[in-house]
Symmetry: C2
Subunit: 238 residues, 2 copies
C-alpha cells in the first residue's frame, strides 16, 4: 500500500503539492484515472482517482473516505533534548513517527548540547515516516521550547507525565509505571547527555512528572527516547 499526502482538500477534490505531484507522476508513473490512497495528516484516509495528472499539480477526486484511519488508542508527547549531532535527533524523529507519537517537543535544558533547533527537516522526516508506516495523522514537531516553559505548559494536564533521569533517587521502571497507570495520554521527558540538573528535576516532580528508569543500559539520548516511545507502544499493544 502506498500513501500520498495533501491538506488541500475542497469539495471532494484533492490538490497535491508540486513535490508530491512530481513524485506521483514522474517517479511512480501514475496517470489519469489511477486509483490512489491519500491521507490528510489529520486522521483521514481518502480513496481517490486522479482527474488531472499535471506533474506540477495533480488533482484527484475523492471516491470514499475513512476518518480515524489506523488511529492509535493513545496520545503521546515526547519532550526530548536535541542531540549535539542532529542526525541522531532526526533518527529519533523517524523511529518515533514510525512506531507512534503525536507531538515531538525539542526541549532546551541547562545541559542541552544544542540550544537552537530548526524543525523543517524533522517535519519532512515525520511526513515521510507517517506515509511509510501507514498512518493518517501527521506528528507535530514544535519549535524548541525552554525547559521551564515546557513544565509550566503541561502543569495541569491529566496525562501521565514521566521524566527519565539518571540521578540517584527512588524510581520505578518505565514498564512498571506504564502497567500501573493505564491512560490514553502520555508526556515523556528525556534529558540531554549531561542529564537534567537538580532544579529542573524538582520543578518537573513538583509539576507531577513521575521519575522513571529505563533499565540498566546507559543509553544515548535518542536511544532512550526511542525506547520510551516503544514502551508506550508495547504497553498498548493488543
Amino acid at each position: 500500500m502506498e500513501l500520498f499526502y495533501s491538506q488541500d482538500i475542497q469539495n471532494d477534490i484533492v490538490v497535491f503539492s508540486a513535490e508530491e505531484s512530481k513524485h506521483m507522476i514522474k517517479v511512480l508513473r501514475h496517470n489519469i484515472h489511477d486509483n490512489i490512497n491519500v491521507v490528510d495528516g489529520r486522521g483521514s484516509l481518502f480513496h481517490c482517482s486522479i482527474i488531472d495528472a499535471n506533474p506540477h499539480s495533480v488533482r484527484a477526486q475523492i471516491n470514499s473516505s475513512q476518518p480515524n484511519w489506523n488511529k492509535r488508542s493513545y496520545n503521546l508527547t515526547m519532550a526530548v533534548a536535541p542531540t549535539k549531532n542532529n542526525d541522531r535527533f532526526e533518527n529519533f524523529v523517524e523511529k518515533a513517527c514510525e512506531i507512534g507519537v503525536d507531538t515531538i517537543v525539542p526541549v532546551i535544558s541547562q545541559h542541552s548540547q544544542r540550544r537552537v533547533y530548526k524543525r523543517e527537516r524533522a517535519e519532512k522526516i515525520a511526513l515521510s515516516a507517517m506515509k511509510q508506516s501507514l498512518k493518517a495523522s501527521l506528528p507535530v514537531v514544535t519549535d524548541a521550547v525552554d525547559f521551564n516553559d515546557f513544565i509550566s505548559k503541561y502543569k495541569d494536564t491529566s496525562a501521565i507525565k514521566l521524566i527519565a533521569h539518571c540521578m540517584d533517587s527512588d524510581k520505578h521502571s518505565i514498564v512498571e509505571l506504564l502497567r500501573d497507570n493505564k491512560q490514553d495520554s502520555y508526556i515523556i521527558l528525556i534529558g540531554p547527555e549531561g542529564d537534567f540538573n537538580e532544579k529542573e528535576l524538582n520543578l518537573a516532580l513538583d509539576a507531577g512528572f513521575k521519575p522513571v528508569h529505563l533499565g540498566t543500559s546507559r543509553l544515548r539520548t535518542e536511544t532512550a527516547a526511542i525506547l520510551a516511545v516503544t514502551s508506550v507502544y508495547l504497553a498498548n499493544i493488543d
Copy 2:
C-alpha cells in the same frame, strides 16, 4: 564513566591497539599513572593504571577485576535481513548493541534486498556501542547466513524462537509471547521489506519458531528489529 577495550591481556598487563592507544593519549589526554577502566568484550571489567603511555601501544597494569560486569539476565540472537540502505542496518546494530543483544546474524532470504554483507563496519559500531552503553560483552556480528542454513543451525536449541512476519495467520503479539514464555535465551527473526516467502515461513514454523506480530504500525525492517530488541529488554527489566 569511560571504558577502553582490549583483548590483549597477559599476566595482569593490558596492551591496547594503536587506535585505542591514540584515542586514549592524544584525544583524551591520558598519561602514565592515570587510572582507567577496561573491558575485554568477554564480560569482564578491569580497573587499571597506565604504566606506558606510548600513543601507539599503551600498556596498563590491572589492579582489580569484575567478571560478569553489568551482565544481562538473558541471551539474545537477532537474525535480521540486511536492508538495501546499509546505514539503516547499521543503525539497528548500534541501537541493538546499546539496548542489549549478544549475536547479530544478517540473514539472506528470497526477498532480501541485499545479498552480500560486509561485517567490518558493523563490528566497529558494535564495539563503540558496547563502550558507550557500559557493557563488558562485545556483541558478535556474524557473516551473512542463508535463511535455510540459519534455520537448520537453530533447529534444536532450547531458546525461545520468534519470527515476525506480515502474512495473514494466527499470531500473538510479541508482548504476549514474551510474557508467557519467560526464558533466558531468545532468537528472533526479522524479515526483509518484501517479507519471508511462504516456504521460508513454514520451514521456520516447523523448526519451532513461533509467529509474532509487532502491533499495527507498519515498520521498516530495522525499526521492527530495534522494537524486537526493546521488547525483550523491557520484558526482562527489573
